[in-house]
């Protein structure tokens, strides 16, 4: 905008001269014309020597004068308009210059403008950033302002720029202010070129000391955080290892004496059968069954803790064979209880871990067979439903049901709702179910009411 106005002005200077010349000629013509007319009329009408030749000359002069003054008038008007335009442009330019100057003066970035190697403009902010007055600053280059340790590498950069003609777009370095305090600045360079010649160079300067310090602080914190995480991870690893060795010794050491109790009570019953009365035999049986219960407790606990420790990789599994596997393992139980188990085939494929899934379905099915009122034949129905890319496997029984009040408790470790005399068990079965399903990325739940049977479901992704 500003440059356009300047060009227009330069062009107008010629027209300005022409305007004055034409104005003067017009004034002269305007004065001369009435004089000629006056003398002409006097000549024609009041001179007795009037001749038609002279009259003709007069008329010709008159026509020339009139047409000349007419065209002069037209041109004069035209030039008048141009001059007016020029005045307007001058005002516009002044306004524009004022706007840009205010912008540069009040910019949040420092600005220095260099023309032909000389600094021609410095704004207020530049003085603030560098800590020098305008006069001082106009005599100092970037290399002079930079901190001593920066000068060497800046010189390399500037020399390189000189050689290749490629100015850097951006530079960051430390400077030392007049009072000796240090700031970290970012310079951005903007060049105006005509061919290969640099007309002027704008240097925008931003004080990024605080930004840099914040970044450093952040880096320090991040480093500290990383250290902390590492430390905690190590601690957790240690605890985990301890836990692992704990379960290891549980599986080894705790079971050894138990095996002895069980083994020798068997030996006692067998080898000394004649020396024991029925009461003695009953005591031995109690010892044996107590040891059995302890063993299944340890077994269940181990498989529960194994679920936490071991990696469970899900893959596509056909539910059909999985359920068949569980049924064959429960065959004796089903026969003994004369249970009726119906499976609605075909069963789909799901994403899961085979042996974990077998354990889950085993626990749910054996619960369905176990928790029935005395004398009732267990009836279990198993089917699947699909929705939204997940498969739900349902196991419905005609058992004693679960009071909704105990909804959450049944999934907790060691949580039992009945005495072990009525319904033997360790109280870990459903805890294993829940943990297993969670590890495989699924969900488990049930609908049940006291005395109305239960409907357990597990939900796993289809793909």
């Amino acid at each position: 905008m500003g440059f356009n106005l300047i060009e227009l002005l330069l062009k107008n200077i010629k027209q300005l001269k022409e305007f004055w010349v034409i104005s003067i000629i017009t004034i002269i013509v305007m004065v001369l014309a009435p004089l000629i007319i006056f003398f002409g009329i006097t000549l024609i009408f009041f001179q007795e020597y009037a001749e038609w030749k002279l009259a003709m000359l007069f008329i010709a002069c008159l026509i020339i004068f009139i047409s000349f003054s007419f065209f002069s008038l037209l041109r004069w008007r035209e030039l008048r308009q141009v001059i007016n335009q020029r005045e307007k442009t001058k005002v516009e330019l002044k306004k524009s210059e004022e706007r840009f100057r205010r912008m540069a003066d009040n910019s949040q970035d420092g600005l220095r403008i260099i023309e032909k190697g000389k600094i021609v403009y410095i704004n207020k902010r530049a003085c603030e950033i560098f800590g020098f007055s305008k006069e001082e600053l106009s005599r100092l280059s970037s290399s002079n302002l930079a901190a001593p340790e920066e000068r060497k590498h800046l010189k390399v950069i500037f020399d390189e720029a000189e050689r290749t003609g490629e100015q850097p777009k951006e530079l960051r370095f430390w400077i030392v202010q007049k009072d000796g305090s240090r700031r970290y600045i970012q310079n951005r360079y903007s060049l105006a070129k005509k061919g290969n010649d640099i007309i002027n160079k704008f240097i925008f300067t931003t004080d990024i000391t605080n930004l840099m310090r914040a970044a450093e602080e952040l880096k320090k914190h991040r480093h500290h955080l990383e250290e902390l995480v590492e430390e905690r991870t190590d601690q957790l690893k240690e605890i985990n290892e301890e836990l692992e060795s704990f379960t290891h010794s549980v599986s080894h050491d705790l079971r050894a004496p138990l095996r002895a109790i069980r083994g020798f009570s068997d030996a006692l019953a067998e080898d000394f059968t004649d020396n024991l009365n029925s009461e003695g035999h009953e005591y031995i049986n109690r010892i044996a069954s107590a040891a059995d219960r302890m063993d299944s407790l340890i077994n269940d606990l181990l498989s529960y803790s194994k679920l936490n420790r071991e990696e469970i990789k899900s893959q596509l599994i056909d539910l059909g064979p999985v359920v068949k596997n569980v049924l064959s393992q429960l065959e004796d139980e089903i026969k003994k209880k004369k249970a009726q188990v119906s499976i609605e085939e075909p069963l789909p494929c799901i994403l899961g871990h085979r042996s974990t899934l077998i354990q889950v379905i085993m626990n749910i099915l054996s619960n369905a067979l176990k928790f029935v009122s005395p004398g009732v034949r267990p009836r279990v129905r198993l089917w699947s439903e699909e929705s939204n890319n997940v498969i739900r496997l349902f196991v419905e029984d005609n058992g004693i049901g679960i009071d909704p009040e105990h909804r959450e408790r049944v999934f907790q470790v060691f949580e039992r709702l009945h005495g072990s005399e009525t319904y033997p068990g360790t109280g870990i079965g459903l805890a294993i179910v829940r943990k297993s399903i969670k590890r495989m990325g699924g969900q488990v739940g049930f609908d049940s009411n006291l005395g109305q049977g239960s409907k357990f479901w597990i939900e796993l992704p289809k793909q």
């Binding site: 138990l258 095996r259 083994g263 030996a267």
Partner: protein, 149 residues
């Protein structure tokens, strides 16, 4: 068929288990000698024929080793590792008999070339079945390898 005088080296530190295993062998009328050592170092000494075990008449090389994993001084794994590196003994059949059902232990045992891995049974009838199976499979059906000296 197996050697004429099959004998077993039992490496087991728990005296209760030793007693139960001995009783089980007795119950199946297994009349051959059952040598017992109580820790890993002793097992190595026995197999190498060192110190006390120099007398091969009294302490013959076994045709089967029953090896527990958790042992004092040297673990069953260390014994197994050592054994498989002995040119003269490396082919000896080793059945790991332990209480751990941990897959880490099971896999480690097979990595060290155990011939079989059994978990100590809980009640005595299962002990009997296991010992009987061991007798039939490893001491009767199974062919002994040559041990090189």
């Amino acid at each position: 068929m197996s050697s004429v005088h099959p004998n077993i080296l039992l490496v087991e530190d728990d005296p209760n288990d030793v007693l139960l295993i001995k009783r089980a062998f007795r119950k199946i009328n297994f009349s051959h000698p059952l040598q017992v050592v109580e820790d890993g170092e002793e097992a190595v000494a026995y197999l190498a024929g060192q110190s006390l075990y120099v007398d091969r008449e009294r302490y013959p090389l076994p045709s089967l080793i029953l090896l527990d994993i958790k042992l004092p001084r040297k673990s069953g794994f260390e014994v197994l590792d050592w054994l498989r590196k002995q040119p003269a003994l490396k082919r000896l059949p080793v059945v790991v008999v332990t209480s751990s059902r941990d897959s880490i232990d099971i896999n480690r045992a097979y990595d060290l070339y155990a011939n079989s891995y059994l978990v100590k049974p809980f009640n005595f009838n299962d002990w009997l079945e296991m010992v009987e199976a061991l007798n039939i499979y490893w001491l009767t059906l199974n062919e002994d390898p040559d041990l090189e000296f």
